[in-house]
Symmetry: C2
């Protein structure tokens, strides 16, 4: 699985914000997108930490995008929400572990696949998800 529920929720939350053209509370967003509120909260915190979204605390607080929606590629959003976008552990978390790496004939294939997927996901932005 390349894209988990968490990543798809993140994209939908950002798309929702983009559609509203302003700021919205998490309660509104989660309700509109039918995403469990508490789960949405944890995802939104990732987006804030990544700088994709700005937050305002307190009453009348909420969230808004820091950029125009065409300035977010799917690749960069998913890099924040997915544990790894790597095609396999060989090019992901456990890359350093592998004693085969130096001579492995398969490794270049996974690297090329990573690049293919990354190029694909870099070719779409939030605007493309605004229906």
């Amino acid at each position: 699985m390349i894209v988990s529920t968490k990543g798809r929720y993140a994209l939908r939350m950002m798309t929702d914000l983009a559609t509203r053209q302003g700021s919205a509370s998490l309660r509104e967003i989660a309700q509109a997108q039918d995403i469990p509120f508490k789960y949405a909260e944890s995802i939104m915190s990732l987006l804030v930490r990544a700088g994709f979204v700005e937050s305002a605390r307190g009453k009348n607080g909420g969230y808004r995008l820091t950029r125009p929606p065409e300035a977010y590629t799917l690749a960069e959003v998913l890099r924040e929400t997915e544990t790894s976008l790597a095609a396999s552990d060989c090019t992901g978390r456990k890359e350093a572990d592998c004693p085969r790496a130096a001579t492995c004939p398969t490794l270049p294939v996974w690297r090329a696949l990573d690049q293919t997927v990354n190029e694909f996901l870099s070719g779409y932005t939030i605007v493309d998800l605004m229906g």
Copy 2:
């Protein structure tokens, strides 16, 4: 993660068989590839059931490929070993569940990604892994 350890083991086991040009016992293969014997056993049974490999039981038994190695694409091998090669649940197991499907602007993106990955993996065969 597109390709799990199980899938990579499967590819290595088939590549090992291809290199030997004949038949080999699982003990040999697992040892040569440094794969846990019992785990290799369960993977090999998938390959046999898929018709990729023929088995001979009893003493001097073993396994051999049913085709020349250039006749196995990575895509078809991995389809047997991976739970799903789909980019997301939206195009995988839970596809039918989604009430959004009809109008979802993201779904076509996942479909296109699936196709991209499939085409990529169909472009390599076991021969390409024989180093």
